[in-house]
C-alpha cells in the first residue's frame, strides 16, 4: 500500500463507547481499531446494533449523553481529537470532518431556506462575505446536481424531494472541504432508484474534493461497488477488516462468510440463501470470548473462553481463533 508510510488521516485506537444505564454499563463499541487513509473509502458494515453508527458518532464527537468514549483514542492526522474541549472539536466538525446522516428528510431545518443553511455553514468555517458565501452556495448546489440552483437556493427543504434533499445534505457536508466525510447510511431512507445516484455522487464528489469517506451501511452491494476497504463489525467489535475484494470474495471470518452468503445475486440461481442461525446478542447479553461463538458454525474450544484480537492474514485482519496458528494448528486457512 502506497499510503502505508504516511500517517493515516484517521486513526481509531482501541475505541470503547459506553452507555451507563440503570441496569449496568452497556458497551456499544468495544476495543475497536482501524485506520482511514487520505482519499480512501472505508466501508463499515454490520447488522443494526453492531455499533457502526456509534463509531461514526464517536469519531466526530457527537455521542449523546450519557453515551461516552470510555477508552481508546481517535487521531486526526496524528493529532488526538477525542479529548479536545467542546469548542475546539466544534471547529473540526464540518471543517475537517463532515457527516451525513441517514434521513435527508429530517436532516435539514424546515424553517430555513437551503441557501441560508449553506451560507451559515460556509461562513462558520471561512470569512467569506454574505454575498460571496451565497454565490458559493449556488455553486455547491450545482455541483451536487441540483437543477436551477439560483432559484432552488431560496427554497425551503420541503420543496425538495428526498433525493434532492440528500444532495443538499451532501453539499452541506462538503461545503468547508473536509478531509473526511462520515456517511451514516446515506441512502437507507431513499428510494432504491435514487440510492445508486446518491452513492455515485458522493463517491465522485469526495474524490474530486480529495476527501476520505467512512461509509456506514448494511448494504454489501453498496460497499462492493464503492469502498476501497471494508470493516465488518459484530456486537460492537471488529470482526474483519481488509481490502474490499478480499473481504467480499474470500471472507475469512465465519460471520463475514455468513453475511456474504446471505446476499442474493441476480442471475445466479441459488435454491436458497444461506442464513446465519440466531441473532446478534443484545448489548446487555454479549457472551464471553468471541461474541459470535454461539452462532458460529466453526466454533472450537478457545472461542467461548478467550476473546480473539485481530490477527493479520495477508492484507486483512481477522478477529478469529481459526487464524491463530497456535490455537487451531493452522487448520483455519481453508
Amino acid at each position: 500500500m502506497s499510503s502505508a508510510v504516511k500517517t493515516p488521516l484517521l486513526q481509531v485506537r482501541n475505541l470503547r463507547v459506553e452507555f451507563p444505564t440503570r441496569r449496568g454499563v452497556l458497551t456499544a463499541v468495544d476495543d475497536l481499531s482501524f485506520d482511514i487513509h487520505e482519499g480512501e473509502v472505508l466501508g463499515v458494515v454490520g447488522e443494526s446494533g453492531a455499533g457502526k453508527s456509534m463509531t461514526g458518532t464517536a469519531v466526530i464527537g457527537l455521542l449523546e449523553p450519557p453515551g461516552r468514549i470510555a477508552g481508546g483514542e481517535v487521531l486526526l492526522r496524528g493529532r488526538r481529537i477525542d479529548n479536545l474541549p467542546y469548542e475546539e472539536l466544534r471547529r473540526i466538525r464540518g471543517k475537517e470532518i463532515g457527516m451525513i446522516f441517514q434521513d435527508p428528510l429530517t436532516s435539514l431545518n424546515p424553517l430555513y431556506t437551503v441557501g441560508r443553511q449553506l451560507v451559515e455553514t460556509i461562513r462558520t468555517h471561512s470569512d467569506l462575505s454574505e454575498g460571496r458565501a451565497k454565490a458559493r452556495a449556488v455553486e455547491l448546489l450545482a455541483e451536487v446536481g441540483i437543477p436551477a440552483p439560483e432559484r432552488r437556493v431560496n427554497q425551503y427543504p420541503h420543496q425538495f424531494s428526498g433525493g434532492m434533499r440528500q444532495r443538499v445534505v451532501i453539499a452541506l457536508a462538503l461545503c468547508a472541504n473536509p478531509r473526511l466525510v462520515i456517511a451514516d447510511e446515506p441512502t437507507t431512507a431513499l428510494d432504491v432508484s435514487i440510492q445508486a445516484q446518491i452513492i455515485s455522487l458522493l463517491k465522485r464528489l469526495c474524490s474530486e474534493h480529495g476527501a476520505a469517506v467512512m461509509l456506514i451501511t448494511h448494504d454489501m452491494g453498496v460497499i462492493a461497488e464503492t469502498a476501497d476497504r471494508v470493516a465488518v463489525m459484530y456486537a460492537g467489535r471488529l470482526a474483519e477488516i481488509g481490502p474490499v475484494k478480499d473481504v467480499v470474495k474470500h471472507a475469512r471470518h465465519p460471520y463475514t462468510h455468513g453475511l456474504m452468503g446471505s446476499i442474493p445475486i441476480v442471475g445466479q440461481d441459488l435454491d436458497r440463501l444461506t442464513q446465519i442461525d440466531g441473532s446478534m446478542p443484545r448489548l446487555s447479553e454479549i457472551p464471553p470470548g468471541c461474541p459470535f461463538h454461539p452462532r458460529c458454525p466453526r466454533v472450537f474450544e478457545p472461542c467461548d473462553q478467550e476473546r480473539p484480537d485481530p490477527i493479520p492474514v495477508e492484507n486483512s485482519e481477522v478477529a478469529c481463533w481459526l487464524y491463530d496458528d497456535k490455537r487451531s494448528g493452522g487448520g483455519g486457512h481453508g
Binding site: R90, I92, G94, T106, L108, E120, H158, Q159, G163, L172
Partner: protein
Amino acid sequence: MFAFLVRRLLQSIVVMLVVGLVAFSLFNFVGDPIHNMVGQEATTEQREELREQLGLNDPFPLQFARFVANAAQGEFGISYRMARPVDVVIAERLPATLELAFVSAFFALFLGVSAGVYAALNRYGWTSRLVMTISLIGVSLPTFLIGILLIWIFAVQLQWLPSFGRGDVVQVGAWRTGFLTESGLRALILPAITLGLFQLTLIMRLVRAEMLEVLRTDYIKFARARGLSNRAINFGHALKNTLVPVITITGLQLGSIIAFAIITETVFQWPGVGLLFIIAIQFVDIPVMAAYLMLIALFFVVINLIVDLLYYAVDPRLRVEAGSARAH
C-alpha cells in the same frame, strides 16, 4: 392565503353566532326579564304591555336576529343594575382589564420563554431542576390563593404595594390608563403577577419540553455536525422550531388570561370587566352577562386568527406558493 383568511373569517362568524345563541338564551331561560324590570306592584296588563313593547312576544328567530343585529353594533341594552347602557359600562372598564392582561401576558411570555429555554439547555443543572420544581407550585396553586398570599406578604406584612384597586388613573382620550402614574404602576404589580404566574409556569414547562424535543432532532444533530456554534444552534435553529407549537398554546393562554382575570380582579378589587361580570352574576344582570360572554368569545376568536397568521409567518411549510410545489 386569501382563501384561507376568508375561510377562517367565516368559521369565526359561526363561532360568534353560536356564542350569541347561548348569550341570548340567558335572557329567555334565566328568569323573566320583565319580572326583573318592573316593580312588584305592576299589574298583569302593564307587564303584558311592556312585553309587547320590548318585542318579547315575537317568534324566537326574529328575537335572536334582532339580538345579533344589535350585538354586531355593540348594543346589549341597558344594565338592570346600573340602568346605564351596557356598552358604555363595558367600554369604561375594559381598559383596566386589557392593561392588566397585557402586562401579565408580557410577564408570562418573557419570563416563561426565557426560563423554559434555560431549563432545556441546562437540563442537568441544579438551577434548572430548582426552577422546574418551583414551577410545579405555579401550576398547581389556584390563582386566588396566590393572590391572597401575595397580598398577605407584600401588602400586609411588608406594606410595599397596595392590596387592592388600580391606583390613580389618567384619562387619555377614551382610554383610562394606570400606566402613567406611580401608584397606578405599583397597583398593577401584584395582580399582574397573580394573573400571569400560572401561564408563566405553563409556558415555561411547555417551552422546555418542546425545546428538549427539538434538540433531539436530526437537523440539530446535523447542525452540530456542520460545526455551527452553540449559539446559532440553540437560538437560531432550536428556538425557532420550538416556537411553532408554543405559539398555539400561548395564543390560547392569552385568551384565558383575559377570561381568568375574573378571579384576579375579584381578589384585588380591580375595576375591570371581570369584576363587573362577577357583580352582574350576583344581581342576575343579564345584559351585562351576555355582553361579557360575547366579548370574551370575540377575544378568543381574534387571538386564534392571529395565531393562525403567525404560523404562516414562522413556518414556510404552510405557505403554499404557486408554481413552486415540489419539483424533482
